[in-house]
Amino acid sequence: MKWPAIASLTYKETIRNRILINILLFAVALIALSLIIGDWSLGEQAKVIKDFGLSAMSLFGLLIALFIGIRLMVQELEQRTIYLVASKPVRRWEILFGKFAGLSLTLLLNVILMLLALWAVDWIIEKRIDFELAAAVVLIYVEILLIVAFALFFSSLMSPTLAAVATLAVFIAGHLSPILRDYVQLHPGSGLKKLYLAIYYIIPNLENLNLKMAVVEHLERPPHAVGMGILYGLLYLSFVLTATCMIFEKKDLK
C-alpha cells in the first residue's frame, strides 16, 4: 500500500499552501463578527452565531474542496510532477486515492478548527457548549468530501474551468433536487413522474447532508438522519471515487 505516502505528501502540500492560516483568520473574524452581530440581533445572538458559523463552515469548505480538489490532479499533470510518481511501482488508483485522502485530512483539520472556534464563541455567549452542532458539522464534512470527489471526477474528464463549473452545478443541483421528489408527491398523476424520480435519484441529494437548520433550531430530526446521511454520503463518495479511479487508470499522462 503506497497511498498513505501520497496522502501524507498531499497533506503537506495543502498545509503548506497556507490554507490553515486562512482558516485561522476566518476563526478570528468569526469571533470578532459575533460580537458585532450580537448587538444587532436582540436575544437571538446564539442562533445567529451558530447559523453564521455552520454556513460559513460549509461554504468555506465547499470553496476549498472545489478549487483545491480540481487543482489536485490538474496541477500534477500541468507541472509534470506526476511523471516521477506514476513511474514508480505504484498503482494508479493509489495515487488518486492518496491525493484524495491527503486533502481529506487537511479538510478534517480545517473543519475541526472551525468547530472549536464556533464552540468557543458559543461558550462566551451561552455559557454552555452546544454539542449538537457536531452532528451538523460531521455531515458538512461528508458533503465537502463528496464535492472533492466530484471535483476530482470532473477534472479527470475536462478542463479545470469546465470542471469547476460542473462541480458547482452538482452542488447546486444537489441542494435543489428534493424539489423533484416533493413535486411528484404532490402530483402523483404527473406524466413525467418517472423522469423526475429518475433525476432525483441520480443527482446526489445534498439535502440529506444538511442538518444546519435543524441543529440550530433544535428541530426534531428524522430517525437515523445523521447515520443514514453519513452512510448515503460515503456510498455516493465511493461511487464517484471508483469511477474516477477507473478513468484515471486508463488516462495518458501526457
Partner: protein
C-alpha cells in the same frame, strides 16, 4: 484477460454502490418527517435579508421561495395528519381512511416521542377540532336580499356557498405560508402571482383575512399599474367584511388601470345601482373566475357559482 476481469470487477462495484445509494436514499426519504422540512422553510431570514443575500439573483431566489411556498402549502394540505386530506384521497371510504391513519400512526410511533413540542401533531388536531366547533357555531341569519348586509354575514347567504368559497379546511394548519409569501414578495415585489395566491386561494383555505389583505395591499403598493390588486381587495372587503364603501373605492381604482377588463366596470355600476346581493356576488365571482388560472381557485369559484344559481332558482 486480466484487463477484462478488472473492468468487470469495476463495473460490478459501481453497480453495487449505485444500488446501495438508491436504497439509502429511499430509507432516508421514508424516515423523513414532513414537519421537519416544513418548519425549516419558515426559519428563513427575513425578506429584506434574503433580498440582500440574493445579490444579482433576486428573480431566481424569489422563484425558489415561491416554489417552496407552494410545496409547503400543498404538503400541509396533504399531510396524512390532516383528516380532510385522507378523506379526499380515499373519496370518503371510511375503512381505507382508518387503515391509512393506523398505518401512519404506526410508522410514526418513534417520531411521536420527539414531537412533544408545541409544534407536534397534537397542536394540529386541536386546531381542527376548534375549527369544526367554530364552523358549527355559525348561525344562519334571516336576511333581506335586496338590502346591503352588515359585515361578517355576507358569506352566510347560504351554508353551501360558504363551504365552497371559504372552506376553512386548513385554517390554523397553515401557519407558514404567509411568512413565506411575504418573503417571496419582498425579494421580488413585482412577482404578481404570489400575492394573488395568498390573497385568494390561501385565503379560501385558511381564512386568514388580515394576512390576505396585508399581502394584497403590499402588492398594490408595489405594482401601481396592475388592476388585479384593487379588484381582489374590493372582493375581500365586499365578501368578507361587507364594507361597501371600501369595495367601491377599490373598484374605482381598478377601472382606471390599463388592461382592466369590462366586467369590473359592470361591477362598479352594479354597486352604485344597489344590485341584488346574489347578482352582485355572481358578477364578482364570474370576474374572479375569468381573472384566474389557478385550478384550485377555479374549482372553488365554480362551486360557489353553482350554489348561487341553486339559490336563485329556489
Amino acid at each position: 484477460m486480466a484487463g477484462l476481469l478488472r473492468k468487470s470487477c469495476g463495473a460490478a462495484l459501481l453497480a453495487a454502490l449505485a444500488l446501495s445509494i438508491h436504497i439509502s436514499q429511499k430509507n432516508l426519504d421514508s424516515g423523513r418527517r414532513i414537519e421537519f422540512i416544513n418548519r425549516s422553510a419558515v426559519f428563513l431570514p427575513r425578506g429584506n435579508v434574503l433580498r440582500a443575500l440574493s445579490m444579482g439573483y433576486r428573480g431566481i431566489v424569489a422563484d425558489w421561495l415561491w416554489i417552496k411556498s407552494v410545496l409547503y402549502f400543498g404538503r400541509r394540505v396533504m399531510d396524512a395528519d390532516n383528516p380532510y386530506y385522507l378523506y379526499a384521497l380515499y373519496e370518503g371510504d371510511q375503512e381505507k381512511i382508518q387503515a391509512a391513519r393506523e398505518h401512519h400512526e404506526a410508522s410514526h410511533k418513534h417520531g411521536q416521542a420527539h414531537s412533544a413540542g408545541p409544534h407536534g401533531h397534537v397542536h394540529d388536531h386541536e386546531h381542527i377540532e376548534r375549527e369544526k366547533a367554530y364552523l358549527s357555531s355559525l348561525k344562519r341569519p334571516e336576511m333581506d336580499r335586496t338590502v346591503p348586509v352588515p359585515p361578517d354575514s355576507v358569506f352566510l347567504l347560504d351554508e353551501n356557498l360558504k363551504h365552497s368559497l371559504f372552506r376553512f379546511k386548513n385554517r390554523g394548519l397553515i401557519d407558514g405560508v404567509y411568512p413565506l409569501l411575504d418573503r417571496v414578495t419582498t425579494v421580488d415585489p413585482h412577482f404578481v402571482h404570489p400575492y394573488i395566491f395568498g390573497g385568494v386561494y390561501a385565503m379560501f383555505e385558511t381564512g386568514r383575512l388580515q394576512e390576505s389583505l396585508d399581502l394584497l395591499e403590499k402588492g398594490r403598493r408595489h405594482n401601481k399599474d396592475r388592476w388585479e390588486f384593487p379588484f381582489y381587495l374590493g372582493w375581500l372587503y365586499w365578501m368578507y367584511k361587507g364594507e361597501m364603501q371600501k369595495t367601491h373605492e377599490y373598484l374605482v381604482e381598478a377601472v382606471q388601470k390599463r388592461d382592466c377588463p369590462k366586467y369590473v366596470m359592470a361591477l362598479m355600476a352594479g354597486l352604485t345601482r344597489n344590485m341584488r346581493q346574489s347578482d352582485f356576488t355572481r358578477l364578482y365571482l364570474e370576474g374572479l373566475l375569468e381573472s384566474t388560472s389557478d385550478p384550485h381557485v377555479i374549482e372553488s369559484l365554480q362551486g360557489a357559482l353553482e350554489q348561487l344559481r341553486a339559490m336563485d332558482s329556489r
